[in-house]
């Protein structure tokens, strides 16, 4: 099977990451790669990088200095570094089901804290996307009576804030697609709001000597491959 891999970075690294682009197979055929293929692809990729820039990995091992923290969905169709043509070192990443930022979640909070205070990112981008399975699940869940979250399983508990958000929206006049898009957008706005209320951000914004951090809410449209900014917040707003 011909596999086309097309990865580009900014101009200075373009030669590093462009692999011969042969054919772009339809997405539905690409998902049957065995694990060994991933390891082989890693080997090929590493060899290409070393051939083009022999000291890339040695330099990479000394430190990281990304300017961006990406909080996005685990969805396989939204790999942050591929869709932004980024290279290793560019983006600090946290991805989970339905790109959530819960104020009680140590996983996301520790990432945000480390990213802002230790790594020194300048932008936090919260990225939702169309056709989000998590959002779809919450639309369905919102149609039935609320259950006791503590009695349920991790996935149900994880999605309960989003299900509550769905219940607060008026989707009665919406088609299924419109409802999904409305939920995805409302979710992005809500998670950005949560991020702006978190300790790492409120502390950074209250400190005139702290590095400036801006929080963005983005939507990735799967059908177009394009990111659109929905909202941006900083210490002034």
């Amino acid at each position: 099977m011909l596999r086309a891999t097309y990865i580009r970075g900014p101009i200075i690294f373009r030669s590093l990451f462009v692999l011969p682009s042969l054919r772009f197979p339809p997405l539905r055929n690409m998902s049957h790669r065995p694990l060994q293929t991933l390891l082989n692809a890693n080997e090929e990729w590493a060899q290409t990088v070393v051939k083009d820039t022999p000291d890339f990995f040695a330099r990479s091992a000394t430190c990281q200095n990304p300017k961006i923290l990406w909080i996005g969905c685990s969805d396989s169709r939204v790999p942050e570094s591929i869709i932004t043509a980024s290279k290793p070192g560019d983006i600090f990443v946290h991805r989970n089901v339905a790109n959530q930022f819960h104020l009680h979640d140590d996983s996301a909070l520790s990432v945000l804290s480390f990213a802002v205070k230790e790594v020194g990112v300048e932008h936090v981008v919260l990225v939702g996307h169309t056709n989000c399975g998590g959002a779809m699940a919450c639309i369905e869940a919102a149609k039935v009576a609320a259950t006791n979250p503590s009695a349920s399983n991790p996935l149900t508990r994880w999605l309960s804030p989003l299900t509550a958000l769905v219940r607060s929206l008026d989707l009665s006049a919406c088609s299924a697609n419109e409802a999904l898009n409305k939920v995805v957008k409302a979710n992005i706005i809500k998670q950005v709001d949560n991020i702006c209320k978190s300790e790492p951000i409120t502390t950074a914004w209250a400190d005139p000597h702290a590095k400036k951090v801006t929080v963005h809410g983005w939507m990735y449209d799967l059908a177009e491959g394009r990111i659109k900014e929905l909202v941006v917040r900083d210490s002034q707003a």
Binding site: L27, S31, I68, I83, T84
Partner: protein
């Protein structure tokens, strides 16, 4: 200063636009297909948030290949709804067949845990410290005496990968999958930043009775 700072996020959106145009040039149906068909990745990657280990770049993968969860020091805590919900969703309904838990050399989380373990009892008063408590406890079980720093970090990174694989294998989604004949395999990998190579440390699959 604000002009420079706003460029990093703008640059990303501009780069996305160029990438999307290039993709459409090569395959006009790529994005339409992506939106029409549900995702069917066969791999779940649980890795570190470290910017130097982007899953899809280091494995030269396409959108659609890898369901991804990343956090500080590639943890899988049994009590963490975040990671557990990803694993649960990945096994069913997404239907991955391989779970790869990926650690990496020069891990900042491992370094922080080594330092905290040397400093004595930990007061988990903030999310990051609380998050690292299991790793700090793991560090305390290892003999790192006399090891130079980078070797100590490597030892912790490897022990951490083995431990997280164990946690994954004990999790409800995997235990249920294996009990019902769904032979999802669980792999522990280490990505070496200095060489760009991944190597497999361990692979776990269902008990023989299910095969």
């Amino acid at each position: 200063m604000s002009q420079l700072q706003s460029n990093a996020a703008e640059d990303l959106i501009n780069a996305n636009e160029r990438w999307a145009r290039d993709v459409i040039k090569h395959d006009p149906n790529f994005f339409k297909d992506s939106a029409t068909y549900p995702q069917r990745p066969k791999v779940l990657w649980i890795g570190c948030s470290d910017s130097r280990v982007p899953a899809s770049v280091v494995t030269a993968s396409m959108p659609g290949d890898i369901f991804t969860h990343t956090n500080i020091a590639n943890q899988f805590h049994s009590f963490d709804d975040n990671a557990n919900s990803v694993l649960s969703y990945a096994v069913d309904p997404v239907g991955v067949k391989h779970v790869v838990l990926v650690g990496h050399s020069v891990c900042g989380g491992a370094q922080a845990a080594i330092q905290a373990a040397e400093e004595g009892p930990v007061e988990p008063h903030n999310p990051l410290t609380r998050w690292l408590v299991p790793l700090i406890q793991l560090v305390r079980t290892l003999d790192l005496h006399g090891l130079p720093e980078n070797e100590a970090v490597d030892k912790v990174v490897e022990a951490n990968v083995l431990k997280q694989v164990e946690n994954i294998c004990l999790s409800e989604p995997i235990v249920s999958a294996w009990a019902t004949g769904n032979n999802v395999s669980v792999h522990g990998w280490v990505y070496d930043l200095a060489t760009g190579r991944i190597r497999e440390l361990v692979v776990r699959s269902p008990p023989r009775a299910n095969l």
